[in-house]
Amino acid sequence: MWLGKLSLNAIPFDQPIPLVAGGVVFLVLLAVIAWIIIRGHLPYLWHEWITSVDHKRIGVMYTILGLVMLLRGFVDAIMMRSQQALAFRAPGYLPPEHYDQVFSAHGTIMIFFAAMPLMIGLMNFAVPLQLGVRDVAFPTFNSTSFWLTATGALLVNISLVIGEFSRAMWLPYPPLSELRYSPGVGVDYYLWSLQIAGVGTLLTGINFVTTILKIRAPGMSYLRMPVFCWTALAANLLIIAAFPVLTATLGMLLLDRYLGFHFFTNAGGGNMMMFVNLIWAWGHPEVYILVLPAFGVFSEVIATFSGKPLFGYRSMVAATMAICLISFLVWLHHFFTMGAGGDVNGVFGIATAIIAVPTGVKIFNWMFTMYGGRIRFTTPMLWALGFTVTFVIGGMTGVLLSVPPADFLVHNSLFLVAHFHNVIIAGVLFGAFAGITYWFPKAFGFRLHEGWGKAAFWFSFAGFYVTFVPLYAVGLLGMTRRLQTYDVAAWRPWVLAAGVGILVLCIALACQVMQFIVSIRQRESLRDVTGDPWNGRSLEWSTASPPPAFNYAVLPNVQGEEPYWEIKRRAIETQQLVAEPDYKSIEMPRNSPTGFITAFFCTITGFALIWHIWWLVGLGLFGAYVVFVWFAWRDREEQIIPADEVARVDRARRRVREQWLAQNAREQWLAAHAETGEPA
């Protein structure tokens, strides 16, 4: 009674794979925590990172979470590909009950705990810097959002060793996900972890829309914002609009499972298709939430490394907002085959085809940006170029799928799987790596190693094609997704080819890891001294690397698009910086443990709900409420950074810039512009 459904049986002593995996992870975690404590890093970690409300720190933490969970999701992918490679007329090495958990976990982790945190991390880091302001609208909420997302990730990973994960796919369709057919704790782990993380994401959405609409540097009207901020606005508007749908729908499923409601059950008049309908009303905007920030990253990267302003700024903005709107009009294309009839299918099919148009506008604008520019093939630019080619292919298969009669043939086949991996990997993942490589020097003060970065790109690019082109083929040959075993001989060569592809992607992963290790070891030689390693065009490149806590000593006065480019041009022409500003003391939000402690209580509450430990649920909720009141009661919300500290930091930045000006800056500038023909 005191432990609900929890007992020692929950630990998978009879399943070697999760047991060993969980054991290894647990030991590694223990070792890391022990090292931190023994070496005395805990106070630093607590004060500078865990309780930080600084958007730059939170952005980095989100990115780290995303990369770690990407690794976990990738391990699931390796297991799936290897299982299928071995399972031609054979059982493979993963029994169906286990394989089902693997593909459910793969999708859940990749979407919610890898892709979302990576994109949100980039937005967190870059948006306030690009807007020329000091932080987001609600810094403490920002911290809370991150820690709630981490709680969700933690719960999903705990399911590996205590209990089981869901077997009901990454979107848990009833009646499989109802109590009758999934009586274990797996679906509950999934549901509570997503409900908790979903609250965090919704708070992020509110935070960023408020920031972008209400907090910008003086002079920065809407049409002077960088395109990354526009795509962040669109993505966060979608978050506000779509995530409540996820919360409500999963909430209805929870009511069915916990309180015997009949929303989606077989008995009592429930309607299973309503789950499918509502969950995809969230699910489609979700993929645009993922890809729009990636589009923004590419806009920044392509403009910077072509040495030209982005082509067609206004049409980019219009296309972004059009995608934002239309993404809410297409969700039925995920269940064309479920019998809605020609009228309904036709309307949603046409809307889906239409959404390709603004996306195409963006692709053309990127190409026209590159045309006539002097392209530097740095790692971020390679990711952008790889994206441009690969995403177009994925988009075209999407338009193929948007035609209902065609979709009837390939719905839920590996063709579909290849399509969405095509667009997500080329879009979101390449965008994440481009953004990370692009903004890494800004965040840490040194660049990532170019050689390993390029190797990582080429192996990822090749690995993607070797893995997923065979899946397109085998999908057209009729292979359904999520098969634990198969016996059609015609499929075998393709499945094996995909198995080879995953090995290539493993090499890519190794290159990424090496990139980080080597960069950290060689950081002095890769040091970003000025703060502008790429000859950037937007405001964040005017700060030091890393920027001070307050970002800007004085908020910049924005006169046009690409304000930093203007500032640089004028500085080079006049061979001096603008006059030193009148430094004033700056109010910054105080750090707060609220986010971390709230997440702690949510972890306890979530775990208790999963295992039906009702007294612990009450305790957890009470704890969360107490934290809320305690935080609301604090008297001092802000800390003051004194004017001389601001002056000291900013003067150091100015000295470095003046040195850079003195050293051949003008010659470099003229040389760079002679080629493009742009007026210097």
Partner: protein, 224 residues
């Protein structure tokens, strides 16, 4: 001169704020156009407004589910058989009046009057509690007559949408109590005022959702 002053000095007086026929103008208001970051109270108010809109989307899913499951009574009791229109009318009166008294507490807070602010907040709370008690009584009565959420999808969706509103009212009352304590101990400092505005928005929004609720669930359900 601040940036805003520089920009504003070039800006003619505001007889034509929308610049009708002139292709739009520059807007030097903070937090809106080119005037720089908005003030804290605007930021907090707007963020909370966005949160309320997201809450409305959440309710709309529950409404959609209820609309779809209107006829899924699985052979059990139907809504009109068991709804008590007098009770619904009474609940509506309680909630509407509580919205009014909440507004009065906002006026009192604007005038920095501790006594009247607390009085009207208390009355709001009492009316809100009455609403909840009436609703709980209704639920108990319906369940006693065989209409529990476990009986059919119709009743599941009914209890979910009305219950979701009720739990929002409950959380609102908890928040109200906390606000009364904060106003008492900390007075009318800016952060407290911002939170009071958020609370007002929240409480009024609950009444707006109740209007939709009683219309769709009770009245239209009754009329079928």
């Amino acid at each position: 001169m601040s940036a805003t002053e520089v920009l504003r000095s070039a800006h003619p007086p505001d007889i034509d704020p929308y610049r009708v026929g002139h292709g739009g103008g520059h807007d030097y208001a903070t937090g809106h156009g080119e005037g720089g970051p908005a003030s804290k109270r605007v930021i907090v108010g707007y963020g909370f407004w966005l949160f309320l809109l997201s809450d409305i989307v959440l309710f709309s899913c529950l409404f959609a589910a209820h609309a779809v499951l209107q006829t899924a009574t699985a052979g059990g009791p139907t809504g009109p058989q068991l709804f008590d229109p007098r009770s619904v009318a009474l609940e509506t009166a309680c909630l509407l009046t509580s919205s009014f008294t909440c507004g009065l507490s906002a006026v009192a807070a604007g005038a920095r009057n501790q006594l009247w602010t607390q009085v009207f907040l208390l009355v709001t709370g009492v009316l809100g509690l009455s609403f909840l008690l009436l609703e709980a009584h209704d639920f108990a009565a319906m369940m006693a007559r065989g209409a529990s959420p476990q009986v059919s999808a119709f009743w599941s969706s009914f209890f979910a949408v009305v219950g979701c509103h009720g739990s929002h009212v409950t959380v609102g009352l908890l928040w109200l109590g906390t606000m009364m304590a904060q106003v008492f101990f900390k007075g009318f400092r800016p952060s407290i005022m911002r939170r009071l505005v958020c609370f007002n928005l929240f409480w009024h929004m609950l009444d707006i959702i109740w209007v939709a609720l009683f219309t769709i669930v009770y009245l239209i359900g009754e009329g079928r």
